[in-house]
């Protein structure tokens, strides 16, 4: 004890010295010297060269603009090196809001890109992922009126997809990472396109593992969404001509059941749709007559069932992929890790759709 009391000052000096020695030469970074990308693209050309453009803010006097920094190389990590040669600032990955993959790289496979994302601890896992038509550089460079850059527009657009068309918000990077290799699951990503001088969502890209295998247009995407997601919103319509139609704002509830009969899987999807009538010129006297309302519900049910069955047939014949994540339900009931190829099994099994449709509100009145 005495020894320590005597040498207390020595210990104090040593501790101070350790701190000073460790932090000599460590300095912070000025924000002006940082390249902060809001949008990151990924592309691959026919010569197998990766192209990763960054859309970064640049600060001029008191104005904030954005600029594209391109990085091209044979491997993904080296694009960073290549990009540094063309930029005047230090790159800081992490505040990304949107990942824009071109159709080309999606068909080539996203595994390498996901790998570099999972490695980097600074990546924003909640950044949204979209597939774009054309090159990702064109998409990021495109100026949308009223917005500082296209990345912010896409970010807002994809976040609000869930309001209509039965989209559900599962297009973040972590959603993609979780879906790619999990047994019995497949990812879906929205496709965006430059159309009529604005950026627009035009469909869904269908993935098998990390590669894109098909494209569903918006009409089909709606049905896939109803079948795949729970608790989604959108408008269902019955139409005779351009004057006679009925619109119904619907909230869906979906339940799945799986049975194994004689080694063959059977899936039953039960849809419980609850509708609010938005506009109605098709059915007369719907607000007062009970039978008319019943007839409308029956008509809608038949219509939705027909659409669902068509869509399921297309999934089985054209995409040959377990788009609806049915494999996961079967695997969670009959055991995982058995080496079953769910994409194949789903195409050979029965999928039955039961639709229940009911109107909950009729609105203020009928004109």
């Amino acid at each position: 004890m005495l020894i320590i009391e005597k040498h207390k000052i020595c210990i104090l000096i040593t501790v101070t010295l350790i701190y000073i020695l460790c932090f000599i030469g460590v300095k912070g970074e000025l924000v002006e010297n940082l390249q902060i990308p809001v949008g990151v693209g990924a592309d691959i050309d026919s010569a197998n060269t990766y192209k990763v453009p960054f859309l970064a803010y640049s600060f001029e006097d008191d104005k904030i603009t954005s600029r594209i920094y391109n990085g091209n190389s044979k491997s993904l990590g080296e694009t960073r090196e290549n990009r540094q040669l063309k930029s005047a600032t230090k790159s800081m990955i992490g505040l990304t809001r949107v990942f824009v993959f071109s159709e080309h790289i999606a068909k080539f496979g996203l595994r390498n890109f996901l790998d570099i994302c999972i490695n980097n601890a600074n990546i924003n896992d909640r950044a949204l992922c979209v597939i774009c038509k054309g090159t990702s550089e064109d998409m990021l460079q495109y100026k949308v009126e009223g917005y500082p850059n296209s990345a912010e527009f896409i970010d807002g657009m994809v976040k609000n997809l869930q309001e209509f068309n039965f989209f559900s918000l599962q297009y973040t990077l972590i959603d993609l990472l979780v879906r790619v290799d999990t047994e019995g699951r497949n990812a879906l990503l929205p496709i965006v396109e430059i159309k009529d001088s604005t950026i627009e969502t035009t469909g869904l890209a269908i993935f098998k593992k990390d590669t894109m295998v098909g494209k569903a247009d918006l009409k089909e995407a709606r049905i896939i969404n109803i079948l795949k997601e729970n608790n989604v919103k959108g408008i269902l319509t019955l139409q005779k001509d351009s004057k006679k139609f009925i619109n119904c704002y619907t909230v869906s509830k979906r339940k799945m059941k799986c049975d194994k009969i004689n080694g063959k899987y059977k899936f039953i999807i039960t849809l419980d749709l609850k509708g609010n009538i938005v506009s109605n010129e098709l059915y007369d006297n719907i607000n007062n007559d009970h039978t008319v309302l019943k007839k409308f519900e029956e008509d809608m049910k038949i219509d939705v069932e027909k659409m669902c069955n068509e869509s399921i047939n297309k999934i089985k014949c054209e995409y040959k992929t377990d788009v609806l994540d049915l494999g996961r339900i079967a695997a969670s009931k009959y055991g995982k890790g058995t080496g079953t190829d769910w994409n194949k099994v789903i195409c050979d099994s029965d999928i039955e759709v039961n639709v229940k449709f009911s109107v909950i509100t009729e609105g203020r009145g009928d004109f």
């Binding site: 004890m1 020894i3 320590i4 210990i11 501790v15 350790i18 701190y19 460790c22 932090f23 460590v26 992490g94 505040l95 999972i118 601890a121 600074n122 924003n124 896992d125 909640r126 972590i174 990472l177 979780v178 790619v180 290799d181 999990t182 047994e183 699951r185 996961r328 339900i329 695997a331 969670s332 009931k333 009959y334 055991g335 995982k336 890790g337």
Partner: protein
């Protein structure tokens, strides 16, 4: 000296002695903080590898190890409330063999400490301070850690008591994941087979190591009757933390994706979304270093106190100072996380087996010669 003065001195002595003792809470949370360390961040992966979605059952089974230790410690404490295991082992094996075995027992704490520290440095440099070098993190972080160990058991106990609430908050905070994951990931229960579940529980035992400190510090508890209760409470808290973390990871990420991460539990922190802050990861990892500091401090205390008990001439405080460079050097030798895990996988199971036999033999010999030879020795 007057009679009155003597009485005051006597009271002071008792107070000082009491100052050195831990309350029930402090004792429980000291045990907890030594167990919940860097292993918490990667424990889902160690069990998922073998028992897949049933990993959490393996962790429940693994809790038998600390339970066993608690029961043995309670038994020893009943017979020899004032002697820790180092004294008992000398009585049991004789002075020479006893000392050697004691050193191996203490070296376990030193080894665990360095593994823990190396793991901490790696996590922190990946997620938080990528601009710092290994030695910068090690040298600076060890100073507050050694300071707590230097101050002794009471300070440590107080720190652990305060820190416990932080740990629980940090671990339970990611409850937001319930909105994102899926129960399908956890099904079917027992789908991986009972055989694999038991096999994986061997891996889980490694995460529970550290509980051995109970044999060093049970003389410090104020109310000896509550030792069993403290031990059981601690085991259930730690088991709860591990099971929750594992279920959470499987629920949120799934079996396949979880294994792609080195520390999948940090990913759970991402589920907390605070406006302006991009990801909760940095805050989580910064707060988690405090949890980690407690853990390493407790290990540090165990080593310096254990050495002091073996070599009584040198005080625990001096050992604390002497250990500082040794810990830095050993930790630097591990290097990256793959190497650290390699040594951990090789050596920790051996130590666990050693600890189990060492503790059991002493307990058995106490049982056999109950009250006869020991009391005289």
């Amino acid at each position: 000296m007057t009679l009155h003065g003597k009485a005051i001195l006597e009271v002071r002595k008792i107070n000082r002695a009491k100052d050195n003792l831990l309350t029930t809470n402090q004792f429980t949370f000291t045990l907890k903080s030594i167990m919940v360390g860097i292993a918490t961040l990667s424990i889902p992966n160690t069990v998922i590898k073998v028992s897949k979605q049933d990993g959490w059952i393996s962790i429940l089974l693994g809790a038998l190890y600390p339970l066993y230790l608690v029961i043995i410690a309670n038994f020893m404490s009943k017979n020899f409330p004032k002697d820790n295991i180092l004294v008992l082992s000398k009585k049991c094996f004789g002075n020479f063999i006893g000392s050697i075995l004691n050193f191996i027992f203490i070296s376990f704490f030193l080894f665990s400490l360095t593994l823990e520290f190396s793991g901490y440095s790696n996590v922190f440099r990946v997620y938080g301070v990528s601009f710092l070098k290994n030695y910068q993190v090690l040298l600076t972080a060890l100073i507050p850690i050694s300071f707590v160990a230097y101050k002794g058991i009471k300070t440590l106990g107080r720190l652990n008591e305060v820190g416990f609430y932080l740990t629980i908050a940090l671990i339970v905070f990611p409850i937001g994941i319930l909105a994102y994951g899926s129960f399908y990931n956890l099904m079917p229960v027992f789908g991986s087979g009972l055989n694999n579940v038991v096999k994986a529980s061997k891996q889980a035992v490694v995460a529970y190591s550290g509980m051995e400190i109970i044999f060093l510090i049970y003389p410090f508890i104020q109310d000896r009757k509550k030792l069993l209760k403290c031990g059981l409470l601690n085991t259930s808290i730690v088991t709860f933390i591990y099971v929750w973390v594992t279920i959470g990871t499987i629920y949120y990420l799934g079996v396949e994706t979880s294994q792609k991460y080195l520390w999948p539990v940090i990913t759970l922190a991402d589920s907390i979304q605070i406006p302006v802050i991009n990801s909760f990861r940095y805050i989580f990892i910064t707060l988690f270093s405090l949890v980690e500091f407690k853990c390493i401090s407790t290990f540090y205390f165990a080593v310096s106190y254990g050495l002091n008990q073996s070599i009584k001439k040198v005080s625990a405080k001096i050992f604390t100072i002497l250990l500082y460079p040794i810990i830095i050097i050993i930790t630097m030798l591990y290097g990256n996380i793959t190497n650290t895990n390699y040594y951990a996988e090789k050596l920790v199971p051996i130590y666990v087996i050693f600890n189990l036999t060492y503790v059991s033999i002493i307990a058995i010999s106490i049982y056999l010669k109950r009250g006869v030879n020991y009391r005289k020795a």
